[in-house]
């Protein structure tokens, strides 16, 4: 192998460049030796290197100083010294320093180029020499071949022109060289060989042959290398002699830059640079052209030892500025261990290298499109980012309905109510998302011929946007940042949690609250407690409504068990919530114990009234009956009855009127709806309750009371018309009605609100109409007598009113008149 076929002759061991560094591949290289003349590094290594005093640079001057180094250099060129030195070169620390010198070298050589060109042929010829010398060395010291040269770039320029740059070179090698120098100087065996080596220039032919055989091996290794390699590389594949030549040509460049004058003059030194990656080859042809006329010194550069730095240096000296040596160097660096691999490894390595080169080429071809993203690309990236966002915050997919409702309740439900056709409240959001996504996607949607993948794309994206948004919502954000060592905190605000302007300590307020709230509770039912109860009801109500919203998909006949269980669970939970609601309504609180009854107190506040229409749908018939009974029983306790007693003189204040309106619009419809399901027994029972227990005269003077009576009576009328109930019930009903009528009759003239002018008495006429229908003939007469004045007044008034209003008034009076078979027309 070429590791051992190193040309010792041109190798100036005395140069500072021969420093020692651990060679991690030493073992491997030993294996490779088998291929050659069974030279085992392990066998040949005498361990002398260990004895070297690395720290001592006392002999540096002797070794390297000026031109005097010429003598030692050849002498040390022998392999033996390298055997000790045979460790990898540590250049890393030195590279930076070296680079400056390399720069100079570059410049110098560039300037030098014109003169160098003509001589290239000459130089080519000369390159055959180094192998010879190397061979000569091997011949004399076969065993020593196992040395591992520590250095690749140890040569100095040998051309005369290069002379002035010697210093530079030296600086290159002088960086870590003191050790190497000491090593080289010390060992005697090496010195022994050196003279031989030096004195054997004639041995060139065998040497070259030998080296060629090495080259052959290499060439064989190179064979599998792909075509992607630069053409110069192919040279290497050629049979030994040409290959060798090529190589040497290649080396020439290095030589030009690196050879020392002494070396050049005393003996040719060839740098045999292994074609490790093939990249150096590219640089080769031009380099050849630039070869200087001077006598070439050829240094066999052992690739094994070619550490990345060394290679870099060597390449750095390549004269051709346009060659772009950097990439090559980079590649060179990757393969220092190449030659230490076994054949299979090499083959595999080369194969990989080929693949890599191909791939790189491809990448390079594609790189012209760098920076150009298609919309798909962008969407793809966005999706990845969103995905990460989602995964970072956990998958909230299950909670999406909940959270969106919690965050955006008003909007969601409002849109749901206003646009009834939507299936669920989450849909507006997805519509939003769709809108946005289609806006962004519209551009390339048109470009795409197949819309489907694009659509899927959007759908996925849309889902991810949703999930991401929700995940972001769920993500607990730390509203404060405390920087270590700083005083105070930085608090952030966002849309969800605005920066609090007031920071009230909750604990204090919570401890205070109970104490202030306790007092009133002792006194019984106060407004605060009532309000709290109402809020409780509302909370439960909202829970129920939420629960109703989450009803599982409707059962069909083919429903599976899972769905059935879902429904069962759902129902159970709903029942629990309703029971809770029922408890909180306090309908079952003992009657007459607390005044007003908790439920009546509940109804007395506006919130409570508003809750009724929402509560009723969740209650079954029995519970509704209970509520109705309770309301009727406590009718006189209701605020809308208690405070709303009308008289001809006074009008209700605004608040009471508002309450009454509210009651009419909230509670009454619910009761009306309930009444439509009742039978005669309940109607009779309720009416009996009113007739027996309640102060009819008071109740009749309120709008709510009158409306309630109308409700009961009209239901009875309806029942009678539909033929419901049996004669006994009707008999009972008639008795009850008579009781009521008797009680009510005295109050009839006074139940009209305000004067005739106010025109708010429609509801009274409705009651009278209901009574008139129900009443017997005798009762009807008494009815007419009781309200005769009002009828006449209204008719009188209507004559003075504009036709529209007049007909209104007369119409309401007519409600009553017709119920008893009369008409206001008769009065006019």
């Amino acid at each position: 192998m070429s590791f051992f076929g190193f040309d010792t002759s041109g190798h100036d061991k005395a140069q500072p460049g021969f420093s020692q560094a651990h060679d991690p591949f030493a073992g491997l290289s030993g294996r490779n030796a088998d291929v050659d003349d069974a030279l085992e590094f392990e066998d040949t290594y005498d361990g002398l290197g260990d004895q070297l005093d690395d720290a001592d640079d006392a002999f540096n001057d002797d070794t390297f100083g000026g031109g005097s180094g010429a003598a030692p250099a050849p002498s040390h060129g022998g392999a033996p010294s390298a055997g000790k030195v045979g460790k990898d070169f540590d250049f890393f620390g030195q590279t930076a320093k070296v680079s400056g010198a390399i720069e100079e070298e570059h410049m110098r050589f560039d300037r030098q180029q014109p003169t160098a060109r003509p001589v290239q042929q000459q130089s080519l010829n000369q390159y055959h020499q180094p192998p010879q010398s190397q061979a000569a060395y091997y011949a004399s010291q076969p065993i020593q071949q196992a040395y591992q040269p520590a250095r690749t770039g140890y040569e100095k320029y040998r051309e005369p022109e290069a002379m002035p740059d010697l210093n530079v070179d030296r600086s290159i090698w002088g960086i870590g060289p003191s050790k190497a120098a000491a090593q080289h100087a010390a060992p005697s065996p090496q010195a022994q060989y050196a003279p031989q080596h030096a004195s054997q220039p004639p041995a060139q032919p065998p040497a070259s042959r030998k080296i060629m055989s090495l080259e052959e091996v290499e060439a064989a290794m190179r064979q599998p290398k792909p075509a992607s390699q630069a053409p110069p590389q192919e040279y290497r594949h050629t049979p030994p002699p040409p290959g060798f030549q090529q190589q040497q040509q290649h080396l020439q460049q290095l030589q030009q830059q690196v050879t020392t004058p002494q070396q050049g003059q005393a003996q040719p030194v060839t740098i045999l640079q292994r074609p490790q990656s093939g990249q150096p080859n590219k640089a080769t042809p031009p380099a050849q052209q630039q070869a200087p006329p001077a006598q070439p010194t050829q240094i066999l550069q052992n690739p094994n030892r070619l550490s990345g730095d060394a290679a870099r240096i060597a390449m750095g000296h390549q004269p051709h500025p346009s060659q772009g040596s950097l990439p090559k160097m980079g590649q060179l660096q990757q393969h220092p261990q190449f030659n230490q691999m076994s054949e299979e490894e090499k083959a595999a390595f080369l194969d990989q290298e080929t693949k890599r080169a191909k791939r790189n080429h491809k990448i390079w071809l594609l790189s012209k499109d760098n920076g150009l993203m298609t919309p798909q690309d962008k969407n793809f990236i966005t999706r990845i980012q969103l995905q990460q966002l989602v995964s970072a915050t956990g998958n909230p997919a299950e909670r999406d309905t909940d959270t969106s409702i919690a965050e955006d309740f008003y909007y969601q439900v409002y849109s749901h109510i206003r646009a009834g056709q939507r299936q669920n409240p989450t849909q507006p959001l997805s519509n939003f998302a769709q809108t946005y996504l289609f806006q962004t996607g519209g551009r390339h949607g048109g470009l795409r011929r197949h819309g489907r993948p694009a659509e899927n794309h959007f759908q996925r994206m849309e889902q991810q946007v949703q999930r991401a948004v929700e995940a972001a919502k769920n993500k607990p954000k730390n509203p404060q940042l405390v920087i270590a060592g700083s005083l105070g905190k930085i608090s952030f605000s966002n849309a969800k949690t605005p920066k609090p302007l007031l920071n009230i300590k909750r604990n204090d307020s919570e401890t205070q609250r109970p104490s202030s709230a306790k007092k009133p509770t002792h006194t019984g039912l106060n407004r605060r407690a009532v309000l709290r109860a109402v809020e409780k009801v509302y909370n439960t109500l909202m829970k129920i409504e939420d629960h109703v919203r989450m009803i599982p998909p409707p059962m069909s006949e083919t429903a599976d068990d899972e769905l059935r269980t879902q429904h069962a669970e759902w129902k159970i939970q709903l029942d629990t919530l309703i029971a809770q609601l029922w408890d909180e309504l306090q309908v079952h609180a003992p009657v007459d114990e607390i005044v007003p009854h908790p439920f009546i107190a509940f109804l007395s506040c506006a919130k409570g009234k508003k809750a009724i229409p929402r509560i009723f749908p969740h209650l079954d018939f029995e519970k509704r009956t209970t509520i109705l009974t309770l309301i009727i029983y406590h009718l006189d306790q209701l605020d809308v009855v208690q405070e709303a007693v009308v008289s001809a003189d006074t009008t209700l204040n605004a608040r009471t009127r508002e309450n009454v309106e509210l009651f009419i619009s909230t509670v009454m419809p619910s009761l009306m709806g309930y009444f439509n399901e009742t039978g005669l027994d309940i109607v009779d029972g309720v009416l009996n309750l009113v007739a027996m227990k309640l102060p009819i005269d008071t109740i009749a003077k309120t709008r709510i009371g009158v409306s309630m009576l109308t409700l009961i009576l009209s239901r009875a009328v309806l029942l009678k018309q539909t033929g419901a109930g049996n004669p006994e019930q009707w008999e009972k009903w008639d008795r009850t009605f008579e009781t009521l009528f008797n009680k009510l009759e005295p109050s009839l003239p006074y139940i009209f609100p305000g004067s005739v002018n106010t025109g708010e008495d429609v509801y009274v006429w409705q009651l009278l109409a209901a009574m008139g229908v129900t009443a017997s003939h005798d009762q009807q007469t008494r009815l007419v007598l009781a309200v005769k004045d009002r009828v006449l007044d209204t008719v009188q008034l209507s004559k003075t009113l504009p036709p529209a209003m007049a007909s209104d008034r007369l119409g309401s009076v007519n409600l009553f008149m017709r119920s008893i078979g009369l008409d206001v027309e008769l009065l006019q």
Partner: protein, 98 residues
Amino acid sequence: MLFFSFFKTLIDHEVTVELKNDIQLRGTLKSVDQYLNIKLDDISVVEELKYPHLSSVKNVFIRGSVVRYVHLPAGSVDTQLLEDATRREAAAQQSKAK
């Protein structure tokens, strides 16, 4: 998010925005964001004589922080729903504070 949620339902309704510098702008609510920044279209200044420089302005973007009041169209507010939403918001905040 309650107010954001609420104002979203008022989009395309006419509202009057009273700013902290006493200017009142009436216009169609076109857009609102979570900072309650507001975009109004077809605006008119309520006291046009006082702010003649705004007569030619057709639409505005109002930073949420400079709004004092927004006069709402009562018909497009579902009070009960708003109450519920408020309850939910309060409950959410309470649970968050704990």
